[in-house]
């Protein structure tokens, strides 16, 4: 299929941009790097749109979409069967991801031209953006799980670099470290999962792994460790990797802090693209998980469900708008995971899978929009906190409208895209697991509530006294907002069930009024609640907060998870493991080695008396020695 050979350019262009701006960026005027990066990004955006167009709509796909590998080369060979390839794999989800990533990334590039203007390290910022985009693209087009792992790591690092962009700010440094280490910990699970999987199946290749009814798992069934089958281990561990990136509970703690990074970064990495890598991974391995490790799939479902509820609850109480958005991201990711967890394989059964991907797509659009909007708000008022904001709608009209659209979308108000995707998920959940359905139903309401809490308290209410009157952001920032707004409005009408499905075969879905109507209603109810509580300044929220007392504070402090982690790392690891080991090494082991020397010297001083200088002592020794030898020898002889 050489027809798609050009797809290799899609990741390559950002890479080149990274190298160029990274090495030469300091020498140029900042704006040059910015424009260069943006143009480059634009090119690969166009390319991926072309790819998507020709892949999805070029020719009919009665027999389903083909998996196309236009480019592949061996990068490192472990054994005859096990080798890491670097290549491009095109199938519905990867193409879909290509579109998502390049779109959002391009928008962010564009947006940052305005947002980051005058920041020192402007060039560095664009270099990192390009690096991230390259890694992310490489991740989604991976032809085998190890290539995915490679780019998985790269993504982690570029996120580390971008979170820590303001590297003189200790909080930023801490956040970046936390993000990297937590995800790294999860990646360990991923790695071990890969090791087990490759040991069992003898291959890294997605093609071989996910091919329906493949025989490579024949031997696997027998293998088990601690009573659990090897594949369940493998899949669970790999899911842990995914959970780390997608910030599933309990590995979610890094995401809120990651908001220390520049807002466009949050939009790109921590809302739209990187955090869905985990979902993508699970989707990628879906056949294996579904057929070989159903237990693992159960886990995925419940973790997703819990995370979405958990995050939604926390989101209600946060005041930092970016954190609210971060927690809403968590909860939406929970949705996607849950959808995968409850999905079946093939046709109608695969509804959850389709829904998950669908929601991934729409969520990317409106969440990016939300973040960019938040960015432009922060840009205007120079604060992250709701209580510094209010009545901004007249100052920031465009931002206001787009933000409103986004809120409605996420609240699942028809006919906006969020409605469709969320609805599909609910349906899928309903069919497989009533409990999870209930949870999601509740969360839908919560989502609507906290989003509009945010919306009202920022754009309505009365003015705060701002240092200078907030002003609408420049065009470079508002264009992306508008584009994404449009996208979030209409994305819902894409026929996903014909494009992105578990078995690559299209199928037909119809409205399930039984599900849609209640979900819309509860969404509206949430909005109404928010209207009542936050439309006007009122003491009601305060009272409520006091009423709930302890529960409120617990929620406000994100159920003290950061503290727990802090305790584990700082106290346990540092004080109770490293410190003793360091001490042990210096004093016991090294002490022993040094001790040998000291003892020798001590003996040397102890025995100096033998050389007394008295001739007759010497003579005595002499004779005594002789006789001793004689006696011993004679004794041995006898």
């Amino acid at each position: 299929m050489t027809g798609y050979a050009y797809t290799i350019l899609i990741p390559m262009i950002p890479l080149v941009m990274f190298l160029v701006t990274g090495l030469l960026g300091m020498k140029w005027k900042p704006i040059v790097s910015g424009l260069l990066g943006t143009i480059g990004m634009g090119t690969s955006w166009v390319l991926s749109l072309i790819t998507a167009g020709s892949y999805f709509f070029g020719g009919h796909h009665a027999e389903g979409f083909q998996t196309i590998i236009p480019f592949e080369t061996t990068w490192l060979r472990f054994t005859e069967t096990l080798h890491i390839n670097i290549g491009v794999l095109l199938d519905p989800i990867s193409v879909m991801m290509l579109v998502v990533i390049t779109t959002i990334s391009f928008m962010v590039h564009l947006y940052s031209l305005g947002y980051m203007k005058g920041e020192k390290g402007f060039a560095r910022f664009y270099a990192f953006l390009s690096l991230f985009t390259f890694s992310m693209l490489g991740l989604v087009i991976a032809t085998n799980i190890f290539q995915m792992y490679i780019f998985w790591e790269l993504v982690g690092v570029s996120s580390f670099l971008l979170i820590g962009f303001y590297y003189t700010k200790p909080s930023a440094v801490a956040a970046s470290k936390k993000a990297f280490i937590v995800t790294r910990f999860a990646d360990l699970g991923f790695l071990i999962g890969i090791l087990i999987l490759s040991f069992v199946t003898g291959t890294f290749d997605f093609g071989k792994l996910t091919e329906p009814g493949t025989a490579i798992f024949g031997s696997a069934a027998s293998m088990s460790f601690m009573g659990i089958s090897a594949l369940t281990w493998a899949m669970t561990l790999i899911f842990i990797g995914g959970a780390g990136k997608s910030a599933m509970f309990p590995l979610h703690i890094w995401l809120p802090d990651a908001m220390e990074g520049p807002t466009p970064v949050s939009a790109l990495i921590h809302a739209a693209t990187m955090v869905v890598a985990g979902v993508f991974l699970v989707a990628r391995m879906f056949p294996v998980i579904h057929f070989q490790a159903p237990d693992a799939q159960e886990i995925i479902g419940y973790v997703g469900g819990f995370t979405s509820l958990f995050a939604a609850v926390i989101a209600i109480t946060q005041y930092d708008i970016k954190r609210v958005l971060a927690f809403s991201t968590l909860s939406q990711l929970g949705y996607m995971m849950l959808a995968l967890g409850v999905s079946g394989y093939g046709g109608e059964e695969g509804l959850g899978y389709m829904a998950s991907m669908f929601h991934l797509f729409t969520h990317a659009m409106f969440k990016a929009l939300l973040f960019l909007g938040a960015g432009s708000i922060i840009h205007a008022v120079h604060s992250n906190y709701m209580y510094d904001m209010g009545g901004l709608r007249k100052y920031l009209p465009i931002t206001h409208i787009t933000f409103l659209i986004a809120c409605l979308t996420i609240a699942g108000v028809p006919p906006l895209s969020g409605f469709f995707s969320k609805d599909e998920i609910l349906v899928a959940a309903l069919h497989h697991n009533k409990l999870l359905f209930a949870v999601e139903f509740l969360v839908a309401g919560l989502t609507a509530f906290y989003m509009f809490r945010l919306y009202f308290s920022v754009f309505w209410g009365k003015d705060r006294h701002y240092h200078h009157t907030p002003h609408e952001s420049p065009l470079t920032m508002s264009i992306p907002l508008m584009f994404l707004a449009v996208a979030s409005v209409f994305a819902g009408f894409l026929p996903f069930h014909h494009l992105v499905t578990s078995d690559k075969m299209g199928f037909d879905t119809e409205m399930h009024m039984a599900v849609a109507a209640p979900s819309v209603l509860i969404g509206l109810f949430g909005i109404a609640m928010a209207w009542i509580l936050y439309k006007k300044e009122s003491a009601v929220p305060e009272k409520l907060a006091q009423r709930w007392g302890i529960l409120y504070t617990a929620t406000y402090n994100k159920f003290y998870f950061d503290e727990i982690y802090l305790f584990v790392t700082k106290k346990i690891i540092f004080n109770y493991i490293s410190r003793p080991i360091a001490w042990f090494d210096r004093h016991i082991i090294d002490g022993f080695m040094v001790g040998i020397g000291l003892v020798t010297e001590k003996i040397a001083y102890q025995i100096k008396g033998m050389q007394s200088g008295q001739l007759q002592h010497y003579a005595f020794m002499f004779v005594a020695g002789t006789l001793a030898l004689a006696l011993s020898l004679v004794y041995f002889l006898m």
Binding site: L76, T79, R184, L195, I581, I589
Partner: protein
């Protein structure tokens, strides 16, 4: 003259040339030229080697040369290289080259410094090319001894004591080694015939199993001490901390590799049965040293100590992988040797340069250096990423090969310890990021650090050389790994044939 012999001759000539120079300028110029030539020769060697292989030469060793030395004891000057040796030689040349430039401004007794440094290098080159246990051992000790003067005279801190500790521990190691070598020698002809030190000859026969059981531990531990095998690693933190920059580079980068190299080239290759039988002991030890070293590094505050402990961890990984005794694992071990050699040399070079500016190695006293010395800081970050196994840098390739190889082992015990060992990558991330966060990022802690000047040209040259090497392996590892694997075949086969009893 045989190209390999020239690898030993050039340094000696360089030393002689230095004797005729006056002061720092001449000495460093001569050494730079000499080691530059050496680097070129190594490159030529590498390409001609690859050429030979491509031409289908399948001998285990190439460029061999064999001169009888002590006839009655059948001691030969027998040299030759396979892919692994070539790789190690390249590593050595690169590190030495970088080391010369890293010590470009060694004012105090500069001639003597460069002479000892290059003498050390000579020993290393000789060790890697020799296939005769006697010559090998000779060069081994030749490489170890200059350390004493290098650390004692040009070191810092408690230099005398650390130099003495290092020398004595390594010499104690070579004591065990010597016994092992004699054991091998006197069992090299179990069924009559002349005794020999020739590794290839001995590899043809099977030593009596009892003899192997007795001598394998001696040989393995003897080399292991130089490879910082737990619990014989304690010379390394002190030694590194006190040593001058270039010496730390050479020592951690190259000298410690002699240990790993000897472990498989001599101990395991010549005594496979015993290796198979006793592997588990050393696997446990190395597993400990991998995790232990990493945890130890977390708590340190002296940059060099941090690096020394991470070296313990990484070198532990080398021996661990060797003991997996399958192709992939050992391939990973070699890769890890090379990658660790390069990046730890890079680390020590940078630490030296930073120390030269801030006059402290205490991480708690530094901060925000990224602002003032961006070049060094960025390179330090790269080194750090290499060390925590970031794809695209050598560390990742090596570690992944090790893990995959180790996990392919059929025995459950090996797979479990592999998981334990793999967990070290997280700990590594923790201490690397801790250091980076403390010294490079954040606000500037010490007002004196606000006006430091960034790297000079020779420092850039020194570090960039290493960075390029690290990145090259990280981006295109295939040719290297294939070269190594093809050279590993005889060793692995021999180990596989040895049935554990």
């Amino acid at each position: 003259m045989n190209i390999l012999t020239s690898l030993v001759v050039i340094p000696i000539l360089t030393i002689i040339a230095i004797l005729f120079t006056k002061g720092l300028k001449g000495a460093r110029l001569v050494s730079a030229i000499g080691m530059g030539v050496q680097l070129l020769v190594t490159a030529v060697l590498l390409f001609s080697y690859l050429g030979l292989r491509k031409a289908g030469v399948t001998d285990e060793m190439v460029f061999t040369a064999d001169y009888t030395w002590f006839k009655s004891l059948n001691i030969h000057y027998f040299i030759g290289v396979d892919g692994i040796a070539v790789a190690m030689l390249c590593l050595t040349s690169i590190v030495v080259f970088a080391g010369i430039f890293a010590s470009w401004e060694m004012e105090y007794l500069s001639r003597e410094f460069f002479i000892s440094l290059i003498l050390l290098a000579t020993g290393v080159y000789g060790f890697f090319i020799s296939l005769d246990l006697f010559t090998m051992f000779l060069f081994y000790e030749l490489a170890v001894i200059p350390m004493y003067l290098l650390i004692g005279v040009w070191g810092s801190g408690p230099k005398e004591s650390s130099a003495m500790k290092l020398t004595l521990m390594l010499m104690g190691g070579s004591a065990l080694l010597m016994v092992g070598i004699f054991g091998i020698y006197y069992n090299s002809a179990p069924d009559g015939g002349p005794l020999t030190f020739n590794i290839l000859e001995i590899a043809k026969i099977q030593m009596p199993v009892e003899a192997q059981r007795f001598f394998f531990p001696f040989t393995f531990v003897g080399f292991g001490i130089l490879g910082a095998l737990f619990p014989f690693h304690t010379w390394s933190p002190d030694g590194h901390a006190s040593a001058p920059t270039a010496v730390s580079m050479l020592h951690a980068g190259v000298l410690m590799k002699l240990g790993g190299y000897g472990c498989f080239r001599v101990a395991m290759f010549l005594m496979p049965e015993a290796a198979q039988e006793m592997a588990w002991i050393f696997i446990i030890l190395t597993t400990i040293s991998v995790v232990y070293g990493a945890f130890g590094a977390i708590w340190q505050t002296d940059l060099k100590f941090i690096n020394a402990y991470s070296s313990v961890s990484h070198c532990g990984l080398v021996i661990f992988a060797l003991l997996m005794m399958n192709e992939t694992g050992m391939d990973g071990a070699i890769l890890q040797m090379i990658s660790h050699g390069l990046m730890t040399a890079l680390f020590f070079a940078l630490i030296g340069m930073i120390y030269g500016r801030t006059h402290t190695r205490d991480v708690t006293k530094m901060g925000g250096l990224m602002k003032v010395i961006p070049f060094l800081a960025v390179v330090y970050m790269i080194a750090g990423f290499a060390s925590l196994g970031l794809p695209g840098l050598s560390g990742f390739v090596a570690e992944m090969t090790v893990f995959v190889g180790a996990f392919q082992h059929q025995d459950m015990f090996h797979r479990v310890v592999t998981v334990v060992v793999a967990s070290s990558i997280v700990i590594t991330a923790v201490y690397i990021l801790r250091v980076v966060g403390m010294i490079l990022l954040g606000p500037i802690k010490d007002s004196h650090h606000e006006h430091l000047e960034d790297a000079k040209w020779f420092e850039k040259l020194s570090t960039v050389t290493l960075v390029l090497a690290v990145a090259a392996i990280g981006i295109a590892p295939l040719w290297l790994s294939d070269t190594i694997i093809s050279s590993l075949k005889p060793i692995v086969e021999r180990l596989a044939m040895a049935i554990p009893f």
